[in-house]
Symmetry: C2
Subunit: 403 residues, 2 copies
């Protein structure tokens, strides 16, 4: 018996089987005597259609109103979820962000949670209700509705779990846990029993779409135990918790990300601040830069190469164009024919031989490396996209991850 | 310059022309220097679909959750309306029922407004915002969402107008005002310049779908000036205000209602309380009874005939069946082949010749009258449905309403 927060990924509007899966999970947890809080993801074609309509009709509509629209959809999902739970004979009640006491800043469409006054949630749990909280919405100090943007659904679940000091925060997903590599690419990939927050953060940021990083960071900060489980099958998932028990494997997983583009700004003058100016201009447009190589070019000039998400390629080129006078490069190249292949593991930082072993695996397979970047918990390399599947497989084998 | 509440009937989700009409009306009122409050009706196929889905999946789902669902749709309409207004360059802001300070009782799906704390509305108007209020929703004392049920959209507009002491509450509808008869039936029907609350109440309850009676009653109570106008054409509508200036015509309009059914419970014992028991059983099921005739039947028994809305026919027969032992009638007949034709006018009460004139018109046309009922402001007769169009026309002519 304890307090469980359950977050579900699926859309309940159209899918009866997913609704049944959700109700089954909630019911078992409730009948076992737990207090259950449910967060159902805000998604669905209808909302996209509405948001597109809003954007089409008025591209300059205020973000405040877009949040009113998006949050209404979250409210619909929450009420339908609640009705589905009620229909199984379990008492349930839906709460909007405000009713759940979730207060955020006023950064519409991308708000951050400031506090949760959990009095109402606890009151409803005391009344033996399953509490269904509308995902990704809050109120700000003006008593206006905000939404959380990307990762808002996951973040809601973790924030509520932290506030309630829940025993566990369960994520029911398409996946049944975190694997050493994508089983679609590596047939011998193995599901991890547990993983640290940092490792999961790296995996998520590397394109393994598990939990949103905002949520994992929050879980790490408040030490919320997470578990990633299958929404359809009744099997153990992967537990996410603080490092310590999970140190025995140095490399925990291999992943690849094809959704990247590489830009090379070549032949810029070698004087201080050039890279800074370029990257701060990109940061202003909210473009995240990943791998960066700065190298000496011809005739004493500099070349700067970096990667961005594929969807940011156009925006990046625009920023460079705007700053042409400043950068004055000889040439700007770009390509999206690359893939980023990474190994992740909290234990890597103390094992300098890891990188060499990874490069060796690629060398043996005849795979060319274009760029390299390393951090405490990951090593990433840029390879040609057609080499990426093989790269993941040979690295997975080299590190004996299927053991 | 003044304070105007504008209520719009159309659905904004799918119709661009209706959106343009709405924005045009709001913009002209705003540019003329008025403070403008907008109430956009909650309607649309998508919501019906959702509610049907909810009912299908869980017929016993709590009404509280249904209200969460319905109110979310109102929020969507309000935000889209606001964005549309913003797109014309007019500052606008949407408010949910709670944000607008609307507090109701806890009768979910059929809540009544208890009070409006209009501080937020006035604050936004002071900031020169057009304030768009989500229709038909409020909060109760538990900080839960309620909705108002039938007529809730009209009622929201009138209640807000009363609270703000608006100069006028404009209803933009399919109609361009109130006519002496349905122009589709009577080609010479004339639009009324003004009409009293009571006359409008009678017309609405007689099937002329103009404003919901809840809203008109509220307007009468708080003396809110209403005007019914065309949503597409730019012409004068019909003003609804307290009787006085509108007394010169005795009969104001003729209307018919085909959506009725007649039930005859024949040969019940002639003892006190039989009619009371029958009608109180119907009232318990929320079935409104309209025309009633109680008459002596054969062998000292009684016959009770009455009309109900066509949609209530089945429910009415069920109630009678449940009370068979009590009523013990010889026979129960029912038919929906009737039409109710009525004349309405606040001046009628002091003119006893009116009824005779109406019956004369029907007699001259050879139309048979099955039942009659009168009130201070209307006279209704039941005729065969195939006679109803002619009945409306001959009465309209008899009273010179096209004058």
């Amino acid at each position: 018996m304890g307090l469980i927060v359950q977050k579900f990924e699926e859309s309940l509007i159209s899918d009866t089987i997913e609704t049944k899966n959700l109700v089954d999970k909630v019911k078992s947890a409730y009948i076992a005597g737990n207090s259950v809080v449910v967060v159902a993801a805000v998604q669905g074609n209808y909302m996209e259609e509405l948001v597109n309509k809003a954007n089409r009709e008025n591209p300059s509509r205020s973000k405040r109103e877009l949040d009113v629209l998006i949050s209404a959809y979250g409210q619909i999902i929450a009420s339908l979820t609640t009705m589905a739970i009620e229909s199984s004979g379990i008492p349930a009640i839906s709460l909007t962000g405000y009713q759940a006491g979730i207060i955020s800043d006023s950064n519409y469409s991308n708000a951050r949670i400031k506090s949760i006054d959990n009095e109402r949630i606890f009151r409803e749990l005391d009344r033996k209700n399953v509490v269904v909280i509308a995902a990704s919405q809050a109120w700000n100090k003006f008593e206006d509705i905000t939404t959380f943007g990307k990762g808002g659904d996951d973040t809601t679940a973790v924030a509520v779990a932290a506030s309630l000091q829940a025993d566990i925060c369960e994520f029911y997903t398409d996946l049944d846990g975190v694997y050493t590599a994508d089983p679609k690419i590596v047939s011998s990939a193995v599901k991890l029993k547990d993983i640290s927050y940092d490792e999961l953060l790296e995996l998520s940021s590397l394109g393994a779409n598990i939990l949103h990083n905002r949520a994992v960071e929050l879980a790490k900060k408040y030490n919320v135990n997470l578990v990633i489980k299958s929404r359809s099958k009744n099997i153990d998932g992967t537990i996410v918790k603080e490092v310590g028990s999970v140190e025995k494997l140095m490399v925990r997983g291999v992943t690849r990300d094809n959704e990247i583009a590489r830009i090379a700004v070549m032949g810029i003058e070698d004087k201080p601040g050039m890279a800074f100016k370029l990257f701060s201009a990109l940061a202003k447009e909210n473009i995240n830069v990943d791998l960066i190589i700065q190298s000496i070019g011809r005739d004493g000039t500099e070349d700067i190469s970096f990667t961005v998400g594929k969807s940011n390629l156009e925006g990046t080129l625009e920023v460079i164009n705007k700053n042409m006078a400043l950068l004055n490069p000889r040439e700007v190249q770009h390509s999206d024919k690359y893939s980023k292949v990474s190994i992740v593991g909290a234990g890597m930082v103390n094992n300098p031989g890891i990188a060499a072993k990874m490069f060796e695996a690629l060398y043996e397979a005849g795979i060319n490396i274009h760029m390299i970047t390393t951090s405490e918990t990951k090593i990433s390399v840029l390879v040609d996209v057609q080499d990426s599947e093989m790269a993941v497989n040979v690295i997975h084998e080299k590190f004996n991850l299927n053991a």
